[in-house]
């Protein structure tokens, strides 16, 4: 479950060591933009050692490696792969080829290190106009791709427009990414809200992302995590409805009925699938019911 993901600079020991406490479902150890070229090696070693030493108490660890057009990305992978990151975030993914380049290297290194093949997933970071236009190709280029991630800061620079709190300038990119990811059967995560002092703005931005179909949202400040987690958690009403759906389905099966109606509406396969997802999330959050449905 990744309702929220928190970016943490890879060269900040105090933040890394506290990663598990900050309230995110996943943390993204950043070796890319947050780290200056002179600090790249120190950050890489620090992130590797932290991942090897610390118990993150169920908080997933993701590493943002450097882009494939830099001299760092392979060194990043070499360092963190043995520590079993949940995902590798591949920045500036403009084409499927960018992602395949990383995939091929990860596959080679997994074999060399004797790690299970295909264990590490990739999360391309779509932050260029080219990447947005190629989103579906990127999402489907490898079984390692588990999710797409929208990066709005670089994207708006590429679009030559101003990044706003309202986010109208990224509306197309958001919808395009959700569409591509869902068509490809992978998850999709929204860009961080960057005003760390605007809690209401963060909540509103998370609600927008949720309404468009995003799986979760990233943050650059722990202050925004509670709102993001709340927005991307099922409400009590949604959970109740999901259980009602599953009970109605079970009752219909017992009675040998084909079509099932609930609250005056036909229950079809997508509604059942959604109910199953809601219940799975609720159970992961400790909000589920004890009986198995």
């Amino acid at each position: 479950m990744r309702r929220s993901m928190l970016f943490l600079p890879g060269n900040s020991p105090n933040l890394l060591v506290n990663a598990a406490c900050l309230g995110a479902d996943a943390v993204i150890f950043d070796l890319e933009d947050a780290v200056s070229p002179a600090e790249k090696d120190a950050a890489r070693i620090l992130v590797r050692s932290t991942m090897g030493h610390m118990d993150f108490c169920g908080c997933e660890t993701i590493v943002r490696i450097n882009a494939v057009d830099t001299p760092y990305w392979q060194l990043d992978i070499d360092a963190v792969l043995p520590e079993g990151p949940g995902l590798l975030m591949v920045p500036k993914a403009g084409t499927a080829e960018d992602v395949r380049t990383v995939e091929a290297y990860v596959t080679r290194q997994e074999a060399r290190l004797g790690l299970a093949s295909g264990a590490v997933g990739l999360m391309p970071l779509i932050e260029t106009a080219l990447g947005v236009e190629n989103a579906f190709a990127i999402a489907t280029c490898s079984p390692r791709v588990r999710a797409l991630f929208l990066g709005a800061e670089d994207l708006t620079a590429d679009l030559q427009c101003r990044r706003t709190k309202e986010g109208r300038e990224i509306a197309y990119a958001r919808s395009r990414l959700v569409m591509a990811a869902r068509a490809a059967g992978v998850e999709v995560y929204d860009t961080p809200f960057t005003d760390v002092n605007d809690d209401e703005g963060a909540r509103s931005d998370a609600l927008t992302a949720k309404s468009l179909g995003f799986t979760g949202k990233a943050a650059i400040s722990p202050r925004h995590l509670a709102a993001i987690n709340e927005v991307f958690s099922p409400t009590a009403e949604e959970i109740d409805y999901a259980y009602e759906v599953m009970e109605a389905i079970a009752a219909a099966q017992r009675q040998g009925k084909g079509a099932v109606a609930l609250r005056g509406k036909m229950i079809d396969a997508p509604i059942v699938a959604r109910a199953r997802r809601t219940i799975a999330t609720a159970q992961a959050l400790g909000l589920g019911r004890e009986e198995q449905v």
Partner: protein, 470 residues
């Protein structure tokens, strides 16, 4: 009649100060104070020896005092707080005797009862008139409240007011009145405004501090005490300020009108007053310019003496009416004893201030501290120095979880019910040590360099010397 004398030296002479006597100072000018150094320089130049300096706190700016100790001018030191720069020298044993630490409430009580009598009190006053009426609310060196100087003024045998802003008689809005003052000295400057109060006290942006602050606010919300008439105290540290800000959001949202906030006052608490969270502020010390301005302008913001603030066993102390206080710690042990006097090497770098007074008085005394600082875990088996006994601490808030003193089972249940991450303090200690490892014990010298005296006058702890380069 006019009490103004020509110089500090003349005032010292007239006061009758002799070898072996005690002089006192307040610390409202904090690290910007000139007065303690000016006075001690004159005392040394006059050839006096064997004096005791009783200051409500000593800061790094008072480093010249070390020279007077080495020269035998000063042979005794008493304070409620000593900052790290001076603390290191005391920890090395610069004083032949022992530093006496008392709490902010214990110090005035000991002065009043004659346990630590003061012969001459030198009171730095940002504004005064020729008869000695004085205050901290006005003048170029305005520091706000003079709360820690009241007992000195009232009980010292002689009182000298030193000011850089001599105003016409009668001074408006005095804090200390002329009937307590013997001499007035005008000097060019009593302090450096930059070191006296900060322009603004800022909330932390550190994610770990913010996390602890949000837990702290939620603990208060869940405690059952956050209702009409709520009273509150917190420090000026980044996480404490953030906790106050989060608390303000809760109080405004729930339309809760508290009674008072007390202690050292920051702009953050002034904001809470203005937002309707409290009826009044009870101010023993101002931490920033916004607090100074509010004390001057807003009648709801009242100056209180250290006696009224925190003296134990007095006819009434504000701390005894406190619901919640947020405190810090350099170390806390598994019995909830707190150290705020020394660092992890045992070097003096602080003091109780109002820590143990408020902990003893408040219904809930909450310590906020990170699980570790750099590589040192903060929770230990046994603190190097007991500043505040664990029986007065109710709850410890860290980024990794919240531990409730077993004696407060009801609070523990309430926090659990609110979904807060409550765990045993030993679990928290193990969690921290899982990351930092368990530190080796630090070796200490045989000599006792300081005594920590509890608010009731009892010996709480003896601080031992440390090697030259620990």
């Amino acid at each position: 009649m006019n009490k103004v004398v020509g110089s500090i030296r003349e005032a010292i002479s007239l006061s009758g100060l002799r070898d072996g006597m005690t002089v006192s100072f307040h610390h409202h000018l904090r690290n910007g104070d000139y007065v303690l150094n000016l006075v001690m320089e004159e005392i040394a130049a006059m050839g006096l020896r064997g004096l005791t300096v009783n200051a409500s706190a000593l800061f790094d700016v008072h480093a010249p005092l070390l020279r007077h100790i080495e020269g035998g001018v000063v042979t005794g030191v008493a304070a409620s707080y000593i900052s790290g720069g001076l603390g290191r020298a005391f920890s090395r044993g610069i004083l032949q005797g022992e530093v006496e630490f008392r709490t902010h409430g214990g110090r005035p009580k000991a002065i009043a009862q004659g346990v630590t009598p003061v012969d001459v009190a030198f009171i730095a006053a940002p504004a005064a008139d020729a008869m000695g009426n004085c205050t901290g609310k006005f003048g170029p060196s305005a520091c706000g409240s003079l709360g820690y100087a009241f007992a000195d003024a009232r009980y010292a045998k002689k009182v000298v007011v030193i000011t850089d802003h001599l105003a016409p008689y009668p001074l408006q809005g005095w804090s200390i009145s002329e009937d307590q003052v013997d001499y007035v000295v005008a000097v060019d400057a009593i302090g450096d405004p930059k070191g006296i109060v900060s322009g603004t006290t800022k909330m932390t942006r550190d994610p770990v501090g913010l996390l602890m602050a949000s837990y702290a606010a939620r603990v208060i919300e869940a405690s059952g005490l956050l209702q009409e008439g709520f009273s509150f105290q917190t420090g000026a540290g980044g996480a404490s300020l953030a906790a106050a800000q989060f608390l303000q959001e809760i109080m405004v949202r729930k339309k809760i009108r508290g009674s008072f906030a007390s202690g050292g006052i920051t702009g953050c608490l002034v904001e809470m007053l203005r937002a309707g969270c409290f009826e009044s502020l009870l101010d023993v010390q101002c931490f920033d310019l916004k607090a100074v301005e509010s004390l001057r302008e807003d009648p709801r913001h009242q100056e209180i003496s250290a006696m009224q603030y925190a003296a134990p066993g007095s006819r009434g102390a504000v701390v005894d009416s406190l619901d919640v206080v947020i405190l810090g710690a350099t170390e806390i042990d598994t019995d909830f004893n707190v150290n705020v006097h020394t660092d992890s090497s045992g070097v003096i770098m602080g003091g109780s201030g109002g820590h143990s007074d408020t902990a003893a008085g408040a219904k809930i005394a909450m310590v906020i501290a990170p699980m570790f600082r750099a590589r040192m875990p903060m929770i230990t088996d046994c603190v190097t120095c007991v500043s505040t006994p664990g029986r007065h601490i109710d709850v410890l808030v860290t980024q990794g979880g919240i531990a409730v003193n077993p004696q407060n089972g009801e609070l523990k249940d309430r926090l659990r019910a609110a979904g807060l991450p409550v765990m045993e303090i030993r679990q928290l200690k193990e969690k921290a040590e899982g990351i930092t490892g368990k530190p080796k014990a630090v070796s200490r010298g045989d000599r006792v360099v300081a005594k920590v005296i509890g608010r009731e006058g009892e010996l709480l702890s003896s601080i031992r010397s440390v090697p030259q380069n620990p």
